[in-house]
Assembly symmetry: C3
Homo-oligomer: 314 residues x 3
């Protein structure tokens, strides 16, 4: 999340009760989680295992639970509970807003767009022109819908990321990182019924122009989908994965988090994509491999009895 305007680190340190190490006259331009952090951003870290990754990231300001060495173009904000500090900042700039009506007065809806009964359009949502929003759709706060977009019944755009701060030494192990990112849906996208598209934790989940999804598809937080992709029913894509242009995922395909599926790849039904895939090829199975190899493997498995027999005869 970018702040509306640069925010003094001094002011932030007071908000969260941190002591500053390094330059205290600097200004932060936003706050992001580690995968999406950019120069000028705040980031937080609460375990020595991740100190180095945070210090080495693009972040300019690191909210941390103890002092450590850091380069001179960065500052540390030392605080006992960095995760709580992160939540405090996020909630200051993006406070929880109750909805008081089904269609928020702060939402903007373009010309020629139709919102069916029983739909929910949250605060600060923007919907372009000539969209069709069918009954029972929920579009949550701050999401952005382009032009000529169709969303079928029961779909949820902008549910919170499934992203937790984990500590097994407390009663409740998992505490949610409040999502302050958005979902951005580009022009000519069509989304089926009862789908779920999570907002980014601190950044945007993006569905590229002309992409079409069938029913019951799940798109995790911070996923970036290219143009002209086709996702059949019950596909699930985990957080922060990149799906390049023209990718086809057939029914019930599952895709791991933080990987990339290359341009024009086709993944056969029910496959499980565990690692990044090169574009332009057809994949199959669990873990997903090139279909031509996987099919040969299926044939080899069927030949095991023949091998056994030959071995015993030999």
């Amino acid at each position: 999340m970018k702040f509306p305007s640069p925010v003094s680190i001094q002011w932030i340190s007071e908000l969260i009760g941190a002591s500053i190490q390094g330059n205290s006259n600097a200004f932060a331009t936003g706050i992001n989680e580690i995968h999406k952090v950019e120069e000028g951003d705040l980031v937080f870290v609460d375990h020595p295992k991740y100190y180095k990754a945070c210090i080495d990231s693009s972040a300019s300001f690191i909210i941390i639970d103890q002092p450590t060495s850091f380069p001179e173009n960065k500052s540390l904000l030392v605080v006992k509970e960095p995760f709580e500090a992160y939540l405090k900042i996020v909630r200051h700039f993006r406070p929880f807003e109750k909805a008081t009506t089904s269609i928020s007065h702060t939402a903007s809806i373009g010309e020629g767009s139709y919102i069916a009964p029983n739909s929910f359009i949250g605060n600060h949502v923007s919907i372009g022109n000539n969209c069709i929003i069918q009954p029972g759709v929920s579009i949550m706060d701050y999401c952005v819908i382009g032009n000529n977009v169709t969303i079928q019944s029961g779909t949820v755009i902008g549910s919170d990321a499934f992203y937790y701060n984990t500590k097994k030494n407390r009663d409740i192990w998992y505490k949610k990182m409040d999502s302050c990112g958005r979902v951005v849906i580009e022009d000519f996208v069509e989304i089926g019924a009862n789908c779920t598209i999570d907002r980014g934790v601190t950044h945007d989940t993006i569905i590229g122009e002309g992409t079409k999804m069938d029913n019951l598809v799940q798109i995790g937080h911070d996923v970036v989908v290219g143009k002209n992709c086709l996702f059949a029913s019950q596909v699930g894509i985990a957080g922060a994965t990149v799906v390049e242009d023209g990718v086809v995922l057939w029914g019930q395909v599952g895709v791991n988090k933080t990987i990339t599926i290359g341009k024009g790849a086709v993944v056969m039904g029910q496959s499980g994509v565990t690692n990044s895939l090169e574009g332009g090829k057809v994949y199959m199975g669990y873990p997903a491999e090139e279909a031509i190899k996987k099919r040969r493997e299926f044939v080899w498995i069927k030949r095991i009895p023949e091998i056994w027999e030959k071995l015993n005869k030999g």
Copy 2:
């Protein structure tokens, strides 16, 4: 889709700007996509690869992008953009109707049927007697629900088919074929929560008498399900597949499009049905095969190390 009454081909050619080849005094009784076309119907084709299939189909009138040879009991309607012409005809006879209320004034709801709050009943929907429609259900335009049907919360009946006209030489590769088919749900059917049942593209998706579905089930366009079937949670069935009477699909089973699952077949959880299956047997795995064979295969795979050892000893 059948037209309300036979329509002059002359009139249609004017609507879509086509030139007629063959008998121009004929009357069309409906329009259907190639898989569901019947005598008297219009069909469209926009690629030479499919000319023969269309000419040889039951269609009486072929909307086509260039003249070709055809038998004398048929006519061609030659037009530059057959897909746009198809859309024009469909939209003429089935124009997009906005819903102005949660329960349409044009819907008919039988005696003893209960529609819970937050449900949507679209235009021209027909619901029989003694049905229970739980909260948050959406039943879209023209769908037909029989008697003694229960539909649990959040389910969508009559979402649009996931069916596109594809051309990769334009900016937006996929253009939706407007669905003008229906969903027809017969008596004593029970459907779980958050399911999605797509309408037929031009024909009907049918759920046979006494069939029961668990939650989060997906039924594609033009699927025909027989009587007394049982589908467990998260099953997905792709477009235009036939599931005969008494079939049991356990949880998370995926079924390919345009295939047939024979009477009384049972498919174990998570299986992937890629090809038609004979009735009366139990199936398992991906691709789904008879369970008895598949289980043996699992045993053989576990014996590979033994084979390797024996081979090296021998």
Copy 3:
């Protein structure tokens, strides 16, 4: 289901038209299906195959279709159609109540809890303090939600069990056993969007404190989930299964009915859990096995061509 107060067996026998064998002066404290039955309960059985299991169960009163031998601390209620008798009792004590408003007047909602527009809160629902119920959620009759619970849009809590009385000699093979159980969600649970959690058939489905679920998760009837579990998107758990504390199920995992997943087990994405799993280990594949073994199996499969070659050379 426990009755509001003990009910005379004499009175029940009149309600269902049964003849009593054994002590007719006894009082029943509830009615339960066979998996959940306790002392003092009624149970029903309508097939000789299950007579012994019912007679030997904790049930005190057996509704049965013909006399059979039974121990002296129990009674039989003999009636022609035991399943219809069961329904009659359930419907007497838990009659179907229509909802007349989106938020029932008989629901109790704790301090600081927020119910977004378009949500449905059924009769006799109890919601604790500081909960967030997002738009389009349906919480069905009698469900109990603890404190600090978040439920995202479109989720259904308390849909009916997918549980049927089956007889293939009638027109409609499957008749639903009316669910009179509840869903109980403990404190600090978070549930994603478009999930479905079925109520128990006669008992409770329970989600333990601090457990977090992603979107499109299915939880079957009478499932008991422990504390601090993590279920990723599109997980499905079938009826009456027990998931102990701290279990992690990654995306699209399917879990069989009436099994137990031990404390702290981790199941990799898309796995199919067919049998109970010991706690503290990592599992993978279909059927799910220890990941370390499964990975070795994957390697062995890839070596079949090498084995074949060696065999032919040898």
